[in-house]
Amino acid sequence: MKHERLVDILQSLSNVMSTSGDESEMRRALRPLLAGQVDELRVDSLGNLITLKKGTGESQLRVLVTAHIDEVGMMVVDHTPDGALKVQAVGGIDDRLLPGLNVCVGKEQLPGVIGIKAIHHSSSRERLKAIPLKELSVDIGAENRKEAQRLAPVGTRVTFSTQAHPLGELIAGKAFDDRAGCTALVALLHEEPFPFDLYGVFTVQEEVGLRGARVAGYAVAPAVAFVLEGTIADDLPKKEDVGPTSQIGQGPVLTVMDRSYISAPWLLRYTVQLAEKLGIPYQFKQPGIGGTDAGAIHLTRGGVPSLTLAVPCRYIHGPISLLKPADLEATITLTSAALRHLTAEQLANN
């Protein structure tokens, strides 16, 4: 896929509002992008968008590639007498980032703001303390409880309202975790058919416990699974000599072990060797951090060797993250190569 088209898709998907459990709008955005590129498309009972791209028939393998369509955000749980919205986090949100933000409320995309007590009225102790979400509220301009209830009833989704845009050599936008992976999966489904049937699944509810991937993995029952992600890049300058988790500009990030799973060693080795042969840059994600849909998929049925390939992104789970298009392109190239070279013999021998 052409560079411009890819960036275009990434930006448009990044702008979609789709918190865990409320992913209709991502499915709606994906359908036209997939039209004509897949042979089957269905939505399951959790909301996973399951597509099948039929293979050339050379290989009988059945392979699953996933990317999650949900993002972290908030949900309205109550209203104050003066019309403010009380919210709780959907997925892991960084409370420190919220004060001073613009947000987007509900399907009608009502604008809202999160403000805090003026610095003049805050004690020096208060200024040192990060304010927990339960002490914050969202102001949509409602005058009283009744109006707030009418405009944003309990259960209404609240998301960051960032519109994606280029920033220097990078792209800025919200929810690159995991719109980066979704973009990569769309690009893969636009390629020529693979030797085997490829199930491309856009999963739901990753951020609240890898829920969609679990049932999709069970339904598809693949021999091998690849999970496409946007992952943490902690490559800012720091005093201590500690790992950066991953670094922007260093290519796709391969998981060795995170909190949710251990990559099948042979699958990791095979992918690394392929990257080296083809001159594709790659890096290992610092072990022991985070978790992905692979954690659920590898435990489905009799077990599925799985590997996560991720695009390094700075500031994920916040209102605005950054990534480098070259990393996204290299992730697609490496995943495509790993898929196209995969044989049933490799599986049998491991």
């Binding site: 500690v242 251990i262 099948a264 077990g303």
Partner: protein, 326 residues
Amino acid sequence: MNLGLLTQLTQAFGPSGYEDKVRALIQEHVAPWADELRTDPLGNLIAYHRGNGKGQKIVLAAHMDEIGVMVSHVDKEGYLRFTRIGGVYPLHCIGSRVRFADGTHGVIYLEHREDTSPSPKLTQLYIDVGATNKDDVPVSVGAPAVFVRPLVQQGERLISKALDDRIGCYILIELLQQVQDSPHDLYFLFSTQEEVGLRGARTAAFSINPDMAIAVDVTITGDTPKALPMAVTLGDGPAIKVQDSGMIAHPKVRQLLVDAARKAKVPYQLEVLRGGTTDAAAMQLTRAGIPSGALSIPCRYIHSPSEMVDSEDVANAIKLLAAALA
């Protein structure tokens, strides 16, 4: 007691996810006695004994993996930072040695710290492989390692690293030879990735789909200085699981084990464990539910490099299980 076999088993390299060497070793010992052998997608080794068609389909599980560490960062001076594989306690690490798959040894030590709280954080520890700078380090980010500590026999006591759960593997290997006449279809499951979340047993139990599952693993004891109340003592016999923090044993399985102990005339203890669980907890939730239980070997200092069990408990566990499966 076949000390040679137990030495090989405990000393083999096998952190969670990297059990190949343990698997190869076990494979060699069970091959002559198994009707079928297979390795599944998560690396579990399954040795099958065919029954007479009138028995039940039973899984016996012991995990091959051990706790360990994995390199997470190499700093400029050539020191390694690491993350845990399974339940590694920082206090146990200081002064311990670890060994990587390629034979490289490292010493774990604690950086200088201002706070004197008794237990350091894992991030305050590092591995020294004797390198002089970053380029001199023979292992890279993502390399797993295990603790180093030999097997020692002292009287009836056995002390080693990784008795959790190579002692279970040992018991199953010995047991397989003794149950050649069992009427039951027996699946000896040498599972992977138990220490990181009972992962191997879960998928293996799904493919086997047994009528009953029994895990053979270690449990803590209440017989050390100032231990919390726990009615399990080293040397008083294998412990039949009633409950742990992950599972309530199925009454039928528990009764089967109690009856077997009486039949085999071996001492046993009943176990209620507050913290910790076994592969049985995962197997129990397979498909529409599988009656599951566990037989535990009392073990002191679990997840330290010097775990201690009693060889009589081990011998009695084998007798008990053989009686249960006869």
